[in-house]
């Protein structure tokens, strides 16, 4: 129940999944749920393949939001520890851009909290992705998050 052990950050380096699982590990927990969002390969209308997503963030706000999301999740589930990490910069096809890991006493709570955190992050967090295609052209992905 100790939020000071939470790890919430944007980072420009590759996400270390093993380290994140170690960081949420806790002797009082019986479950760890991990969600990874990865760059999905696509082909655009011009027949170019997606090679990477280039993430930009309003970092100060996004990290503030992610800490608030963790607080909100703690009010709803008996969470031991939370890791929320999001990449900035280029993330190649197949590589993870976001990692959420949550430890709780039982699995239903871990799944619930993990899903809540990724859904809220996608809706609210001030992060944007640009699609980088095989001819090196790029396009901002259509945002489906919060509207005015």
């Amino acid at each position: 129940m100790d939020r000071k052990n939470d790890i919430i950050a944007l980072q420009s380096t590759a996400l270390d999944i093993g380290a994140a699982i170690g960081d949420v590990g806790d002797h009082g927990s019986g479950a760890i749920a991990v969600f990874l969002g990865t760059t999905r390969g696509e082909v655009n209308a011009q027949g170019r393949e997606l090679v990477a997503l280039d993430y930009e963030a309003y970092a100060e706000m996004a990290e503030t939001q992610m800490r608030q999301m963790a607080e909100d999740a703690r009010r709803r589930w008996p969470i031991s520890r939370i890791v929320m990490l999001h990449r900035t910069g280029l993330v190649d096809v197949g590589q993870p851009s976001v990692l959420i890991a949550v430890s709780t006493p039982h699995r239903a709570e871990a799944f619930g909290a993990c899903r809540f955190l990724i859904d809220d992050l996608k809706k609210q967090a001030t992060i944007w992705k640009k699609e980088v295609w095989s001819d090196r052209s790029s396009t901002w992905a259509e945002g489906r998050g919060r509207q005015p």
């Binding site: 992060i127 944007w128 489906r144 919060r146």
Partner: protein, 81 residues
């Protein structure tokens, strides 16, 4: 009064501005600030109806009143994850 304006993603690309200061009348709201931004940066006018605003790191409504030194960020629809 002066506020700091920040723009991100497609708004930054199209305006060519990442951050700047703008001068507004005392009592200006988020909505009046966005109208001023639209007059200054014509390339983003068509995007403003779908643009949210944040003041000092929190989402803000159009009627929110700005104060000297505030940071106003224009937030295109987010696409993280």
């Amino acid at each position: 009064m002066k506020i700091r304006l920040r723009m991100f993603a497609v708004l930054r690309d199209r305006s060519g501005i990442s951050q700047t200061e703008i001068e507004l009348a005392d009592g200006a709201t988020v909505a009046t600030a966005m109208e001023e931004v639209g007059r200054r940066f014509l390339g983003i006018v068509e995007l403003l109806p779908r643009t949210a605003a944040a003041v000092n790191l929190c989402y803000a409504k159009p009627a929110t009143i700005l104060r000297d030194g505030d940071e106003l960020a224009l937030i295109p629809p987010v696409s993280g994850g």
